[in-house]
């Protein structure tokens, strides 16, 4: 009997660069993507700052990760969500968000999906594991 595909959600709640959490979280996602798992990522609270376009980390001397976010879909991580309230509380709109891939057919940019708390709660309840970064 085939085993049920494991549903693993990453919740990203910390802002980028002040700590290593967001970067480490991204590494873990990419590693997990190598396994057969149903992966989703939710950015909430200060985690939405990690999705801000145009991060230039050169002067900080740390590696940026916008380019890596740009290929999440290629890593088969396409379930990427943003909590609407967290985004709006921080004066951000979908226009501010990084691109996470390109639609194979239309070649249009794919952006994270903006969803409400209720939808996120529902998804959380369906997971096998939730990892918080």
């Amino acid at each position: 009997m085939a085993e049920e595909l494991r549903k693993i959600m990453f919740t990203v709640r910390k802002p980028p660069h002040g700590t290593i959490y967001v970067y480490e979280g991204l590494e873990v996602k990419l590693i997990m993507a190598a396994y057969d798992a149903d992966i989703s990522v939710v950015f909430m609270d200060d985690g939405v700052y990690a999705l801000q376009q145009g991060q230039k980390t050169g002067d900080l001397g740390v590696k940026g990760f916008e380019a890596t976010y740009g290929v999440l879909v290629d890593y088969e991580i396409s379930k990427v969500f943003v909590d609407r309230k967290s985004m709006e509380d921080r004066g951000m709109t979908v226009d501010d968000l990084v691109v996470i891939g390109e639609d194979e057919d239309t070649e249009e940019d794919i952006k994270p999906s903006v969803v409400d708390a209720e939808e996120i709660s529902q998804m959380m309840s369906e997971q096998h594991n939730i990892l918080c970064f």
Binding site: T11, R13, M44, D45, K85, A117, I120, S121, Q122, M124, S125, Q127, H128, N129, I130, C132
Partner: protein
Amino acid sequence: MLHTVNKSPFQNTSLESCLRFVREGDVILLIEDGVVAATVGTSKADMVTEAMKKVDVYALDADVKARGLTRLLDGIKVTDYAGFVDLVDQHKVQSWL
């Protein structure tokens, strides 16, 4: 779902966020500095009391005792480490770190 909160609501917004995402029947467990949210007379008490209408809120006994917190809100359930383990065993966990 079990939601664990380990920071004081006066230090960051983890508890507030948690409360925004909990659903009827979920369980919240306050641990470490999170237990201060279980006490009476704080400006956060109403928020916690309101939450207890739809979810069970636990506080970890060792953390409550360690902080000398004796006056807890009505409805707060106090649990020990064994109870903590049971809760984790019974639920999926989201840690609001």
